[in-house]
Subunit: 541 residues, 2 copies
C-alpha cells in the first residue's frame, strides 16, 4: 500500500467522516452508510432552491468540500471514480428539497446522467420539483457530441449557488446554470497519471512528454505531446481554448489536478496571464485544487465569459473554504527597494591605541592559522584558521577606513567588514556579535558590557549555549573576567578552551555531527582561537 488509507472499501466513508469532524459542525451526512454517502449542510431549512451535485470520489475538494452556504446544499459521493447509486442520489434529493425545488448539477458521464436522471424521476413521482443540468465543458475532442464534464462545473456550482442563496426560484437558477454550461470551455494537461487507491500507478507518460486533453478519471489524453516547460504547456492549452471563446473578458478557473506543486501552479498562472489570451483573462479563480483527479500532476483551465451579474455571483462570499475566491487579475505591483540596504561607509577617525590593539589581535589570529586549521580538521573541515586569518588580513588592510576613535561606530564598522569578507556561519555570527555590541555601545554601555551584549545576541541567534563546545565556552568566561584585566580574561578563556576538549556531545556547529570519541582530547577550534587571542593580547598589554 502506498496511500494513507486503511482499506479501499472504507476509504470514502472514512474520508467523509474525517471531513465532517473537521468542518466545525457545518456538515452532516445521511445515516445510510456504507452505500448512501450524502454530505449536507446542517444549517439548511429547505426554504430556498437546493443544489445537489456529486459523482465519483477522487475529485476532492469536489464535491463535499463545496457544500455550504452559497454553493452546494448536498453532495452525493460514489466510490472512487464511480457514480453513486440511484438510491443514494434520491436520498440526497429527498433530504434537502423543499417547496422551492432542487437543481441537480451533473457532469456528463453516462453513469452520472442515468443515476441522477432516474433519481430525479423518482423524486418527481413523489411530488418534488427537480431540474437537472449536465455540464459538458471539456473541449479536448471538439467533434464529440458527448463532451465530458470537468472543472467548469465549479462555475455552475458557484453561480447557481449564489442565485439560490439570494432566493432565486428554480427556473431562474436552472436558466443561469444552463447559460454557464453553454459558455464554459475547459481543457486539461498532465505530466503524470494518477494513483488509484489499491492499484499500482500506470507509467503511461514518458519523460519529456505530456498528455493534452485528458479527463479527470485517469483516462489517457487525446494526444501525447512533447513537453518543454510551463510556457509551452500553456501555449498548447491556449491554442485549443482560444478558437472556442469570444472576444470579451473571461474568468479563468485554474485547477490543480492534484499533484502539482503550488510553485508550478503559480508559474502556470503567470504564463496564462502572459499568453495570447492573457488580455481576456480579467479575473481568476485559483490556482487551487478544485476538481482533482487524485494525485495527478496536471492542471486544467476553464474559461467563462461573464457579465456583471455572473461576476457578482462568482465574487459573492461563501462558507466552503475550498472555494478560493474570484479575484481580478492585475499587473505585478512592485515597491521600490527601501533606503538603508547599502552599507553606510563610516567616517574614518584615528586612535593609536585602538589601532595597535586591532593590529595585535589580527596578527595573533593570522599567526594561529595553521594550528587552528589542524585543530579544526579533527572535528570539521579544517578551515577555522584560514577563515579567521583572511578576515584578519582584510581588517588590517582596511584600518584606515575605520572610525577608530568612536567605539560604537567601530563595532558597527567591524561588523560590516566581517559580513563582507568572512565566509561561513562564523563570519555571520561575528558580524552579529559586533553589530549587537555597537547597539549596546550606542545606548551607553561600556566596552565589556557591549561585548557581553554581542555574546548574548549570538547565543540567541546561533542557538549555542555554554557547554555546547563552541567559541562561546572561551568567550563567555573571558568577558566575565575582562573587567579585572586582560590577564584574568586570558586565564579564563584558556580554562574554557581546555574544557571543550572534554565535551564529547557537541550541540551546535559542525562538531555536533561528529562522533564524541573523535572530539575527545581536542579543544574546539573556535574556543582555542578565543583563548589564543586573549592570551596574545594580555602578553602584549
Amino acid at each position: 500500500m502506498r496511500q494513507f488509507i486503511n482499506t479501499r472499501e472504507a476509504l470514502v466513508t472514512e474520508a467523509i467522516d474525517g471531513t465532517l469532524r473537521t468542518a466545525g459542525g457545518r456538515l452532516a451526512r445521511l445515516d445510510g452508510y456504507p452505500h448512501i454517502r450524502v454530505v449536507l449542510r446542517t444549517d439548511w431549512d429547505k426554504s430556498k432552491v437546493a443544489l445537489v451535485s456529486g459523482g465519483g470520489s477522487g475529485h476532492e475538494p469536489s464535491h463535499a468540500g463545496f457544500v455550504g452556504q452559497g454553493m452546494l446544499t448536498a453532495a452525493v459521493c460514489g466510490d472512487v471514480f464511480a457514480s453513486p447509486s440511484v438510491d443514494a442520489v434520491l436520498a440526497g434529493i429527498l433530504a434537502v428539497t423543499g417547496k422551492a425545488g432542487c437543481l441537480l448539477i451533473v457532469k456528463n458521464y453516462t453513469g452520472d446522467r442515468l443515476n441522477f436522471g432516474l433519481a430525479a424521476e423518482r423524486a418527481r413521482s413523489l411530488g418534488l420539483r427537480v431540474d437537472m443540468v449536465v455540464v459538458d465543458d471539456d473541449i479536448a475532442l471538439p467533434d464529440l457530441a458527448q463532451a465530458r464534464g470537468v472543472a467548469g462545473a465549479l462555475f455552475v456550482h458557484k453561480i447557481a449557488g449564489a442565485l439560490a442563496e439570494q432566493g432565486a426560484d428554480l427556473d431562474q437558477v436552472g436558466i443561469a446554470a444552463r447559460r454557464v454550461i453553454d459558455g464554459v470551455v475547459s481543457i486539461g494537461m498532465s505530466l503524470d497519471t494518477c494513483t488509484v487507491p489499491g492499484s499500482p500507478k500506470e507509467a503511461r507518460i514518458d519523460p519529456g512528454k505530456a498528455e493534452l486533453g485528458l479527463g479527470i478519471h485517469g483516462e489517457p489524453g487525446i494526444e501525447q505531446v512533447d513537453f518543454t516547460g510551463a510556457r509551452d504547456a500553456i501555449k498548447m492549452v491556449v491554442d485549443r481554448l482560444a478558437p472556442t471563446i469570444g472576444s470579451g473578458p473571461h474568468v479563468a478557473l485554474l485547477n490543480n489536478l492534484g499533484g502539482t506543486t503550488p510553485l508550478e501552479m503559480a508559474v502556470l498562472a503567470e504564463e496564462l496571464v502572459r499568453s495570447r489570451i492573457g488580455g481576456q483573462v480579467a479575473w481568476m479563480v485559483g490556482p487551487a485544487p478544485m476538481m482533482t483527479s487524485l494525485d495527478m500532476q496536471g492542471f486544467s483551465i476553464s474559461l467563462l465569459p461573464v457579465d456583471d451579474d455572473d461576476l457578482g455571483a462568482l465574487k459573492a462570499p461563501v462558507v466552503p473554504w475550498a472555494w478560493p475566491g474570484c479575484l481580478a487579475v492585475s499587473e505585478v505591483a512592485t515597491v521600490p527597494l527601501p533606503d538603508g540596504l547599502a552599507l553606510v561607509q563610516p567616517v574614518a577617525s584615528q586612535c593609536d591605541d585602538t589601532r595597535a590593539l586591532m593590529v595585535r589581535a589580527c596578527d595573533i589570529l593570522i599567526g594561529a592559522q595553521t594550528m587552528l586549521n589542524a585543530l579544526d580538521a579533527k572535528s570539521g573541515d579544517g578551515d577555522t584558521g584560514s577563515t579567521l586569518a583572511s578576515a584578519s588580513r582584510a581588517l588590517k588592510t582596511g584600518l584606515d577606513r575605520l572610525p577608530l576613535a568612536d567605539p560604537t561606530q567601530l563595532y558597527r564598522a567591524i561588523s560590516q567588514e566581517l559580513s563582507q569578507t568572512m565566509g561561513g556561519s562564523s563570519g555571520v555570527l561575528l558580524a552579529i556579535f559586533f553589530a549587537a555590541a555597537g547597539d549596546a555601545s550606542a545606548s551607553g554601555r561600556d566596552a565589556v558590557d557591549a561585548l557581553k551584549a554581542g555574546l548574548a545576541r549570538i547565543q540567541q541567534v546561533g542557538g549555542a549555549q555554554p557547554g555546547d563546545r563552541t567559541m562561546i565556552d572561551a568567550l563567555n568566561p573571558a568577558l566575565d573576567a575582562l573587567r579585572d584585566g586582560l590577564a584574568g580574561a586570558a586565564r579564563a578563556a584558556r580554562q574554557g578552551a581546555e574544557h571543550t576538549a572534554t565535551i564529547t556531545d557537541a550541540k551546535a556547529g559542525r562538531a555536533s555531527y561528529v562522533a564524541g570519541d573523535q572530539l575527545a582530547g581536542h579543544n574546539d577550534p573556535g574556543a582555542e582561537a578565543v583563548a589564543l587571542l586573549f592570551e596574545g593580547l594580555a602578553k602584549g598589554a
Copy 2:
C-alpha cells in the same frame, strides 16, 4: 523536465509574479529581482507591529501565501530549500517596519537564523525595533538541542498575526510568539520523497515502508518504519507526540506535505480524532497544505495547548486564503434517511386489454432475443436481446402485482420493475422513460403524449438525439405516427431502424466507440427491438 516550470533559475521569481497577479491586488513585491524576493501587503501603513517570515521556497503556501491582514506583513523568499540572503531579509524588514517595530519569525535552520539574525542587527543599527523568534517545533529527535522548525510555525504566524492586528506592541507580540513556540510540538511522516525542480526524484522509500520524523527539505526521516495503513501511521505519530504534551485540550494542525490527496488527508484526520489523544484534539487547523515540501506524499501533525486567548487569535478571521481556519472538532453528525426511498408497491388492478397488450409486447421481445443478441454483437457486447428478454420475462411474472387499470400508476410501476430487473444503461433509460411517462400521464396527457414525454426525458438525460444510432431513431418516428394507429407506427419504426444501418458515426452508447465501417449495414439493435415490437403489436392488433 517533469515539472510545470520554465527554468530552475526563474522558478521562484515567476511563481511569485504569478501569485501577485492572482491576488486581486492585495500583494506586491519589492523591486529587487532576481536576488531580493520579498512579498508584502499593499494595504500596509506601518502603524502596527510588522511580522516578517520567510526562508527557502518549496514550502508553499508558506510563506507568501500567508501574507495579508491578520497574518504576515511580508515574506522573504529564498531559492528552493535555500535561505534568503541577509540583504533580502533586511530589505523586507526595512520595507514594512514603522515605529511599532517588527517581529521576525524564523524556523530553526542555521542559514535562516544567521541571515535573519544579521539582517535584524543591521536593521537595529538603522534605528529600527526588531525582535526575532526561532521556531523549533520538530520532536523527531527528542535529544537534539537544535530541533527543526516545521509546520508549527503556522501557529506563530496566526497568533502573533492576530495580536499585531489588534494593535499589541512588539513586546506583547514577542512574548506570545515565544509562548507558542514553547508549547508547540510537531512530527511528520511520509511515503515518498519530494521532487526537487530540475533534479530526478530520489527513490529512497521502498513500498511497504514509510519515513517517520522527516523534515521539510527532503532530508530522510529519523527512521524507516513498516507501513500498513492510515490507522497505524497515525498511531506511530501519536506515540511520538503523546509523551510531549500536557493533559489539556489542544489544537491540531494537520498539514499536507504536498502530494497527499485530500481523500488521504481526510482519512488521517478521522484517524487522529479516533486516536488515543483524540479526546484532547478539541480544534483542528486543516487538513490542508500549509507548510509543504514540494510534492512530498506525507503529512505532519502539530499540537498546541491553548487557552481562550490563543483560541480567539487562531479563530480570528484573516485575509490570506491559504489559512484554512481553526474549527472545533465534533462528532460525525448524521441525519436519518429521508422517507420515500423505499419503492411504494402499487395497488394491483385488472384490465384485460392492457394485460394482453403487455403479454404480447413481452413475448415479442422474448422471441427476438437471439436475433437481437447477434445484431448487438456487431457493435457492442451482444447482450441487447438477453437484457430485453429477461426484463420482459420478469415483467410477465409480475403482471398480477401491477395496477393495470390505472395508466399513470402503471407507467410508474413499469419504471420501478425495470429499474430493479433490467441491467445496464438501457434499464435505467427505460425506467426513466416510463417514470416520465407516468408524470405526464398524471398531469392529464394521453398515452401518446405521455410516451412522447418519456422520450423527451431520455433524450435529455441520456444525451442521445435522433440520428445518433440509438433506439430513439425508431422510437421517435413511431411515436410521431402512433396517433394514426399501430400500423403506421410500425412502418415508421421499421423505416427508422433500417436507417440506422446507414449511420456510421454513432454519437451515443457503446457503438460510439466502434469504427464506422464495422457499423455499416447493421441496424442498431435498440432501434431494431423497437421496430420488432411495434411490428409485432400491429400484427396482433
